[in-house]
Amino acid sequence: MHIVVPIKLAPDLVEDLEIDAGGAALDRTFLRLIINEFDDHAIEQAFLLKERGGGQVTIVAPDLEGADDVLYTAAAKGADRLIKLIGDFSAGVNCHALARTLAKVIGDLHPDLVLTGVQAHDDLDGAVGPLLAEHLGMPYLGYVAGLTVSDGKCMARKEYPGGLVAEMDVALPAVFGIQAAEKPPRYVVTSLITQAMKSATIEEIETGEFDSGGAAAVERMSRLEATTHAEMIEGSTDQVADKLVAVLRERGLLAPRG
């Protein structure tokens, strides 16, 4: 069984985000990119399936700052093949362009399963998974938190609100949008990553031109200027705690001592 996990790198939300001079895109000059957190779950799910049923795991990442880290980290966790897509990703590519580019490469890999993160927080034109599935001619099922493979079929646990799960049978090959792996993504110690950097090879594949057609235009982008904002309580730990106690008391929210 061959499992392919394509990666999207998304802005690290811990950093401040700025809008560029054009006013319709993020300023990418100082943008720190990290792996889309749901892709991390997709990688984990791939390893869980490999551990249970054998097979090969291939990770594909676009050539952006952070891609090598992601690939070597995956290698340290047990990925069999690492592929970096070479092209000018620096200006940012939308889901449509990324999906088309990935499809060209992943189609040739003849995967049984393609696991993507269900979405990334900066998606504005759908998500990579379902678009990729279209270009590969494979079925897509998203919001998945659990997969079992047997006899060319896959049983997927799809999440609905409130914790309800639908068990669906999906014919392989197929693309899944992973919401959460069955277990939290594993950690790998730095020494193993350093080792992988020496022993693992990253294959490079040229992507050619991007085709971003299919997304609606973004005409303006702005940092959220909320119409409402919390009243901020400042001061020392004691002062803030006192004020919060007062807020709770005024509203009758201090439970009688039981």
Binding site: L13, L17, I19, L26, E37, H121, D122, D123, L124, D125, G126, A127, P130, A133, E134, Y140, Y143, M155, E159, P161, G162, G163, L164, V165, A166, E167, M168, D169, V170, A171, A174, G177, A180, P184, G214, A216, A217, V218, S222, R223, A226, T228, A230, E231, M232, I233, E234, T237, D238, V240, A241, V245, V247, L248, R251, G252, L253, L254, A255, G258
Partner: protein
């Protein structure tokens, strides 16, 4: 060319989901602004009575077929795309949900229609229909025109309250047969698995202390437990905390968990991502403790502090314990 605004109705085991009403509210604004009709598209099997709360729409298209009894991506997508090719709507609105996100991309490619996802609000600007979508965890708003002649949008909760548009009706129900073949489906529903039984139902708790990823590690949950105990409440959490196994699944607040409506919600190290915030819109008082001044949680909270929870919690818990009760 009908050029109506369509809202694809989401149903789950015989109930219309709230996101459908949110989408209808958005659709109503577009339809009224453009002077066209709002049509709800309902798929199912013996499900026509569900049209009874879709009165905000001018009309309901109802497609009945055994393969549409429950949602599966291929059957629903083929049916919607087939109808849309026949009737040429101006825009199709899906929920940005487990169902909608499985098929919106495919439908947009079938129709060669541009796709806009995570749309929270719509409006008319200089006569042009216009979307706005929160992105980057709600820190950024992206806006632009809704292109013609046809466009597919996925709608997130938050912009419009579902209750206001849950109206009896509609004026007409048009029954249609699926125009697409519904055989040879590669995805089939086997069964539903009920949610894990909960020791407490957080939807009913008046006092909740929520922990987010800022709590850093399982051992620190005890700090939140202590605060909850002092307040006479219970601990709940965000998705990463539950995915880590630090809290049980029934304690998850948000899109994939529970919508809560406590008198007071204390959020510790929760950033306020849209998927979390959608679960707390019913909270009467929200207090946010978060070290990031730009955390979106402060836009929904009533009171906030930038102190680290690790500094504040011991003192706060102790003061609450000591505070005189009325």
């Amino acid at each position: 060319m009908s050029q109506d605004i369509w809202v694809v109705v989401e149903t789950l085991r015989g109930a219309v989901m709230d996101i459908t009403y949110t989408s209808l509210a958005a659709g109503r604004i577009l339809a009224d602004g453009l002077g066209i009709r709002l049509v709800a598209v309902l798929l199912g099997h013996n499900a026509e009575p569900l049209a009874g709360t879709l009165g905000t729409a001018d009309s309901v298209i109802y497609v009945d077929h055994a393969s549409l009894a429950d949602f599966t991506p291929e059957a629903y997508r083929r049916t919607i795309s087939g109808l849309a090719k026949e009737l040429a709507p101006r825009a199709i609105l899906f929920g940005h949900t487990s169902m909608g996100m499985d098929i919106a991309c495919g439908v947009s490619l079938d129709l060669n229609a541009p796709l806009i996802s995570s749309c929270e609000r719509v409006k008319l600007e200089d006569g042009r229909p216009w979307y706005s979508s929160p992105t980057c965890g709600g820190k950024i708003i992206a806006e632009g025109p809704i292109p013609d002649p046809v466009c597919v949008l996925t709608i997130v909760p938050g912009g419009y309250k579902p209750e206001a548009v849950r109206l009896p009706g509609p004026k007409e129900v048009v029954r249609m047969a699926p125009s697409a073949a519904l055989e040879g489906l590669r995805i089939t529903l086997k069964k539903y698995i009920e949610p894990q039984a909960a020791d407490v139902d957080i939807a009913k708790e008046p006092m909740l202390v929520a922990v987010g990823r800022g709590i850093q590690q399982a051992d620190n949950i005890a700090l939140a437990e202590a605060l909850a105990q002092a307040l006479g409440g219970v601990v709940c959490g965000s998705r990463p905390v539950v995915d880590q196994g630090w809290l049980p699944v029934p304690r998850l607040v948000g899109k994939s968990g529970v919508s809560v409506k406590p008198k007071c919600y204390v959020a510790l190290g929760v950033s306020g991502a849209p998927e979390h915030v959608e679960g707390i819109s019913g909270a009467e008082l929200i207090i946010a403790i978060n070290t990031d001044p730009r955390a979106p949680i402060f836009n929904v909270a009533h009171f906030g502090t930038l102190l680290s929870m690790f500094d504040l919690l011991p003192a706060l818990t102790e003061k609450i314990r000591q505070a005189p009760r009325p």
